[in-house]
């Protein structure tokens, strides 16, 4: 089982590396959206410090959404998805590998770049640490839940918009606990409670989402 997951991750990472433009544009999207906010609301450091957790997290949700439509679409178009579905192991295992690979190229870079953007919002070093931690912990759940939406909208007209309509409401708990962790740290309450809830969400969705996505993919392949 682990061998299959690793094989899928290896293949998807290799493909992503040969198409780096996708990764880079998602990261720049994140940077631009976050940088636009101070221009919209004004440069007062107090206001920015209050807004920072929410802004960074909402931007992270949107940046993750950007790369979701392609999660299965490429494999679907060239027939590889059929072959994956016909392999002698459950499709959920393959999807687990794909979700992890998606996180490695979308969530992980966001977590690494978030502290730099946090400095623009005058966050303290403790808050920056918690911000990185919360994005690191929360984005796997985004990839997992997003995979369900990507599988459900596979091959549909206007799939991208539909995908955000389906997935964004389901992202709300992750947003609340993720931004809440940073918020609580900024206001001096300590974000540990939020972080552990975020970890619970991530583990639950990584266990559950690949199988729901696999069921949705089988419906799409009929």
């Amino acid at each position: 089982m682990l061998k299959i997951i690793l094989a899928v991750i290896g293949r998807d990472l290799k493909l992503a590396m040969r198409r780096q433009a996708d990764i880079v544009s998602a990261i720049f999207f994140f940077v631009i959206v976050v940088s636009l906010f101070p221009l919209g609301v004004g440069p007062e450091p107090d206001l920015l410090r209050t807004l920072a957790p929410g802004v960074l997290w909402v931007a992270a949700l949107l940046a993750t959404m950007l790369s979701l439509p392609r999660l299965f679409a490429d494999d679907h178009r060239d027939g590889t998805l059929e072959q994956l579905a016909l392999a002698p192991h459950p499709l959920g295992i393959v999807v687990t590998g794909k979700v992890i690979a998606h996180w490695l190229v979308s969530g992980l870079p966001l977590a690494l770049i978030a502290p730099i953007l946090g400095i623009q919002f005058d966050l303290s070093s403790k808050a920056l640490l918690i911000l990185t931690g919360s994005i690191l912990l929360g984005t796997p759940a985004l990839s997992g839940i997003g995979a369900i939406g990507a599988a459900l909208t596979l091959g549909l007209r206007g799939g991208g918009v539909l995908l955000s309509l389906l997935v964004l409401p389901l992202y709300i708990p992750v947003l609340i606990f993720g931004a809440g962790a940073v918020d609580a740290t900024v206001s001096g309450l300590g974000g540990e409670g939020h972080l552990s809830l975020l970890a619970a969400l991530t583990f639950a969705s990584l266990g559950f989402a690949p199988w729901a996505s696999a069921a949705a993919l089988k419906i799409a392949l009929e």
């Binding site: 027939g79 016909l86 459950p90």
Partner: protein, 204 residues
């Protein structure tokens, strides 16, 4: 032994076929024929287990393929009308990745040998997006060269191949049948498969 019993297929509002059945023994090839839209591809998708039949059952070695699940898919090799190759990967990487994901053992030497047989020697390390349509199809067909699984299901395998390649592929399928394999395929053109028993099934 592959058996189909009383199969019925409904797509959208149309019933494509009903009461369809056949039995295929080792060393036999089933050639599906019929007009476009007569349900050939749907039947193939039922045989590979992606499309559940409205009615009826498909059995492999006497057991329902629904029950067999992974065990059935482990005996099955499917070649669709899509090539299932990644444009960004080289032919060699494509073969090796496909084998690894299908839990098959394929050494690099075997893969290189297969690519040489389909006439892609010297292009193993070129990303597939630089290959022509015909060459991409050959990369997909190269999978069959070292294929050991007993049941082959091939959707239009001869399409877009030149005469030499058609003969070569017919030889590969013959070899498979001689080793006691089974095959189901659809085709529009008349192809001679030198060995094995060829059975025809016409959908109308």
């Amino acid at each position: 032994m592959l058996e189909a019993d009383n199969l019925e297929c409904v797509r959208g509002e149309r019933r494509l076929f009903a009461g369809l059945g056949f039995r295929l023994n080792p060393g036999e090839l089933l050639n599906l024929q019929g007009r476009n839209g007569s349900g050939k591809t749907s039947l193939l998708r039922m045989l590979i287990g992606l499309l559940p039949p409205e009615n009826g059952e498909i059995r492999w070695q006497g057991e329902s393929i629904r029950k067999l699940g992974d065990d059935y898919r482990g005996d099955l090799c499917y070649l669709g009308h899509l090539n299932a190759i990644k444009e960004e990967l080289t032919p060699l990487e494509n073969l090796l990745a496909a084998a690894r994901l299908a839990e098959e053992n394929l050494s690099e030497d075997d893969a290189l040998d297969a690519l040489e047989q389909v006439g892609l020697a010297g292009r193993e390390d070129l990303a597939c997006k630089y290959l022509s349509q015909g060459q991409k199809r050959r990369v997909a067909l190269a999978r069959l060269v070292k294929e050991k699984r007993p049941l082959w299901i091939l959707d239009e395998p001869f399409v877009a191949l030149d005469v030499a390649a058609v003969d070569w592929l017919a030889g590969i399928i013959s070899g498979h049948l001689q080793r006691g394999g089974l095959a189901v395929m659809t085709t529009h053109q008349q192809v001679d498969i030198p060995a094995g028993t060829v059975r025809e099934l016409r959908l109308s």
